[in-house]
Symmetry: C2
Subunit: 304 residues, 2 copies
């Protein structure tokens, strides 16, 4: 397997100024997997769902060529459920419900044939779980990318710092970079975080784009200005999936190629927010992606 | 004259986490003029100061080749004074003092030889004053660029809309674009504002860069990530001055050239915040500017 993804597969219920969904497919692992599946093949996922998880969603993963042999189904359990509401400012959201359900006892087992995956993407999860996945990989993947969030900085900082020391690329948002480093300046924050283990840091800034830090180099990727953002849920995970899918496809972990990966991730994320849930991500064509990439090129192109 | 600048010339007193200044040179017209003076010649300024305005600052304008024949000195009056304090988040500031002084009765008179200026930059001022300057120009300048702020949207909206209808380029920050248009999405906000008169809209996003809107085109310029921002005062005005100085120098108002102008403006603004007040802006060399421009090129360069 080329790319192994570990992350939640869940039910979401989302309210935004544009409407309200019922229970729909969600979860970090879902968005990462679907995004990556447009860019590369040989993708496996390790996650857990309950007996209430519908066959049609399992079929969707299969259609997208995602190996679900590591997706454990706990028949007597219920799938992780999250409900949230966005306000006009889509950067702010209220969490209405978080039912961990089967996720509470999730102890990931990476199937034998997935342990050799060359690329490992750890979606946002309990740091201890992320660690247990890394420990099962043999040999160590060529590139380990890890997403996390402020919640683990508040509740499990030691475990978090421990896993961070084991990965190659860390992705966080700007506030999380500040919290983790204790530095307000993102340049200073990045310098500190790059001494904690990762060789690359990606700072996600939502509608303001993303920054990639490596050694003394910085790359700034824009976000696509959109008429309407229907539902930002999964944008960060889609970004990670697009990034990782591109890196796995091209099999090149140089700084120059990571810059391209970030543009691919940004392009994929710009689709996800255009409809609720995974709707836009599942209907995408290669032509749509190509066109959006060109729009990113045009958005920042200038000649001095 | 090629470029006429109208804007405040003032005393500022600034506190930031990095220290506190005494009374120093400030004002929108000052920052615009100093920034533009690094990029073009034949600059004039229309403004007002009091008898307390020191000769050394007048000499500074002269050294930078800025024609101050339109800078009225009201001997018995005092210069406009602003004091403010920045918190760790440099996007937020408290205004501690605003003494309008001679600015309260400012009725701009554009000297005869400045009325033919090809480029007009209206710094943030009472909309009625901005209008009176436009009316004195003969013939109408080739390009009129106008900066404004939320204060005038709250207190003089009709006058503001009136002046906006007379200009070619409007510069506001993201919150102001939202307030002026009543649209949260910046793409929708820009579409509305571009029906109000201006052919170009520049949305300044501080540490997140800037967006240029024209017809259905969008250009995104990054801000330079900096280790330390000492004092953001004047950054937006420096941006406008760099932009306008470049446009005046190149005498080209095409969208492609405006993109370059925005990169020049962003580069100049990135210097201003590195020291208190105008300190960094006055010591700059052409070599510094060239180097910073290359850093902007490198910051966003990628190849798909």
């Amino acid at each position: 397997m080329s790319l192994l993804i570990v992350g939640t597969v869940a039910f979401d219920e989302v309210e935004s100024p544009f409407g309200k969904t019922g229970k729909i497919l969600g979860g970090a692992g879902t968005y990462i997997g679907l995004a990556a599946s447009h860019l590369t093949e040989n993708i496996g996922i390790v996650s857990v769902v309950g007996g209430d998880f519908p066959q049609k969603y399992l079929d969707l993963f299969k259609e997208r060529n995602i190996d679900t042999s590591g997706l454990r189904i706990v028949k007597e359990g219920k799938t992780f459920f999250w409900a949230g509401r966005y306000h006009e400012n889509m950067n702010m959201r209220d969490t209405l419900v978080t039912d961990l359900n089967v996720l509470a006892d999730f102890d990931p087992v990476v199937p034998e044939h997935l342990r050799k995956s060359k690329y490992l993407m750890l979606g946002n999860l309990t740091p201890a779980i992320q660690r247990r996945v890394i420990e099962q990989m043999d040999p160590r993947p060529e590139l380990i990318v890890m997403d996390t969030m402020n919640f683990w900085m508040d509740t499990a900082l030691n475990d978090l710092v421990d896993v961070i020391s084991m990965v190659d690329v860390l992705t966080v948002n700007d506030e999380e970079a500040r919290q983790l480093s204790g530095e307000y300046s993102l340049v200073k924050a990045a310098k500190k975080i790059l001494t904690m283990g990762p060789r690359f840091l990606i700072v996600k800034k939502g509608e303001h784009g993303a920054l990639l830090f490596h050694e003394n180099k910085i790359f700034h990727a824009p976000a696509m200005p959109l008429e309407d953002v229907f539902d930002p849920t999964g944008a960060g995970d889609t970004f990670a999936g697009g990034f990782m899918g591109y890196i796995a496809k091209t099999n090149d972990t140089s700084f120059e190629n990571m810059k391209r990966g970030i543009i691919y991730g940004s392009a994929m994320a710009s689709f996800t927010v255009e409809k609720f849930g995974t709707d836009r991500l599942t209907e995408l064509s290669q032509q749509d992606i190509k066109k959006r990439l060109q729009e990113f090129v045009d958005l920042v192109a200038f000649e001095i």
